[in-house]
Amino acid sequence: MSTDDSTHTDDPLAALHTDEWEAEMEELLEETDHDTELGIEMAKDAQRLVAGQIDEEEFHAKYHEAVIDEFGVDDRPIDDAIDTVKEAGGDAAAALEAFEDDDGTDRRDAMKKFGVGAAALSLAGWATADAMDDEPQDQAAVAAAQEDDEDDLQWGMVIDLDKCDGCLACVVACEQENGTGDGENWMYVFAYEEEDQDDMNYLVRTCQMCSDAPCEKVCPTTARHTRSSDGLVLTDYDVCIGCRYCQVACPYGVNYFQWGEPETPMDEIDDNHTHDKRGQWVDSRPPRGVMGKCTMCPSRQDGNMGDDMVGTTACEDACSMDAIHFGNMEDPDSDPNQYLEQVREERASANELQDDDADEWADRPDHTASTFRLLEEIGTKPNVVFVGNEPSSDAEQVEGPVSYEDVGQVDNRKEALDDGTFAGGVTE
């Protein structure tokens, strides 16, 4: 994208239109699903608008049609945005705050909501305001924006299946942490065999914390939602109506409904382990008639259980094989990402040793560790990455070295539920 018309030396905005600025804009706008070029162009002109280089009529005249094309309507958000930026009159914080939700939705979310026009304007207003308030050292704004990006938090896991030994300690730990009942296996470990292969494989299954979660999409009440601050997919136990559509739409079968009265009564559940930092009841086993699933332990992440618990999960703590690595998937320095890197390096170097005649086999790729996300092809964007082999379609679940009964758990929940079925169930 050209910056030709902003390269005049007397243009105070020229310094703003750096490559970093464009890159950041592009990245942000890409997330809004709208025309990135249009957004950037608008943002630049919006800065000019706020700086008084062009007036509102000009701005509108220039973009009205393009905006109609893109959105079908030239909607209020744009006018609102102009007003907001104007009202803020160069106050960066105020301009931005206007785009933040009461519930503290971050800038990205606000931008997604308002669409490209507002997105462009909010960013422009903020960057420009900064530039005008402070000394022309506007790079600070850009740097701040980048830093803001790095603050992005998406909890997730890297699970090394090659390390798992099927002891089910994580299953037990999760049950104890959350007070889930018989067969309500928020954490579930498959032992399975492949055809023509003797040894046992494991698949350690939590909620995949999908970034594009079908369970959330289909929920008729917004009970199933993604927490904007850290990407956890949670269920608001006070809102859920128990229609079970999330369970139907989840590709991985990780949801467990509270069919009857919970086995663990409320007074046995730690007070710190029910409501998250927003005050919503999302943690521990759900009440009767409400949907539950692995939460990735928000009470820990929010510091309710002490600062040293932040960034940990009960299942991770329980795993003596160090197979589960919980952390921020957006941060390259986080435990899971570091682990992933380490595994890749280890396996690549293991490969190198054998390849001492690398020159002769120059085209041979550097082998790295096999990693996968479950059913990635269906586009749910899971935030759990597995190290090891993905089960094939012939994979068959088998009795593991430690059975669920051995550790006081129930594998097939229906066997427990059938006790409650009126006039008996039919499980063989």
């Binding site: 079968g253 006039a423 008996g424």
Partner: protein, 442 residues
Amino acid sequence: MSTEASEADILRPIHNTSKRYFMMLAACFVAIGIFGALWTYQLYHGLIVTALSDWGSGGGVTWGLYIGAFIWWVGIAHGGIILSAAVRLLGMERYKPVARLAELLTIAGLSVAGLYIIVHMGRPDRMVTSILLNYHETVHTSPLVWDVTVITLYFVMTATYLGLTLRYDIHRLRDQLPDHFGPLYDVMTLGYSEKEDEVIERMVWWLALGIIILAPLLLHGGVIPWLFALIPTMPGWFGAIQGPQFLTIALTSAISGVILVSYAFRKAYDWDHIIDDDLFRGLLLWLGFFALLFLWLQLQQLISGGFAAPTAQELTFESKMSHPAYIIPMVMVFLTLAYIFAQVLRPSLFSKERAVVAGVVVLIATLVEKVYFVVSGLMYPMFGLYRSVPGDYFPSVIEMSSVLGTIGIVTLFFLLVAKVIPVVELHAIEDHGHGDETEVEA
């Protein structure tokens, strides 16, 4: 072909109440009572009293008979209104005597379908607050919210339709109608003048057009199948064929329902000359036509699921080929179709009673097929590594009692409504000489 029908004929249900009427009434109350008691038990203990469980490691299915019966009733309801709209739109005079019965079936069917949504929920007490307060957000993505929306829309459309057409009749029959419902009739005919007839006629025509256009697009060819067809990870459900497939099922079951209701009224009130044999023959033919489409679309799915399908889809195919809950309904519909063909070739094979049997058979078949459809989708998911997949499910007594209870409610509805309004339109007996219009038979 028929002796002249009179106003007295169509008023007979309102004025005459037989002993059999009271027996039916009692039977309805028993059916509703059984279900009511068991549902109360369910409310008290939670959904654990059903035979449902979690799919996956949970070894069961999370949607079962409640959802199956929900679709079944919605299908009957939607088919009913399509039928009645078609009668008005295409001027199919022969079916006019049963048009209002079909509309009433729609109102009753939609009501019990709505009831099923409530019965199915874990927290029915939150229906209003949780769904309505978040409607503006959820309506964009949740097929369940689309369902609730469209069902409400259809309820309103049908009620309007019924209300408008009733004004004409009630005004003309007013002095022959019982006085104790006077205030109700006054409200229904509020501001009526004969000048409006033409306008109403036109409004009703447009409403009918709206229904005919919307039904396949939005209803049983739309949001109801989308509840399933849009879930890519349940191969038994996913795919574009569910729209047309659901629509054919809706129409077969609705025609069957209309056959049963029509037969009951004819028998109870000696309406041989109003709801004549030809009408049953005609309904049977339509039933045959839609049953043929129904089987044809099933065949499409079997072929594509059995030829070179991906693993999970192949499993659903194998299940269909071996599960009695699939095979038996298919055979039932096929046999009905065979009978309908046979009675066309040899008219002596026709009798109203046989038409009724055909209706009952199709209704049972579609209910079982619907439940199987819901359950099998969940039993053969794409992610099928779980040992307890496929799980097992056989509806509990409580779930089964809901079918009894809802049939009771629908029957009760007819029993009560027949005492208040004429269930056959005046128009149907006014333009007699019916029966030989240019109507296309399947």
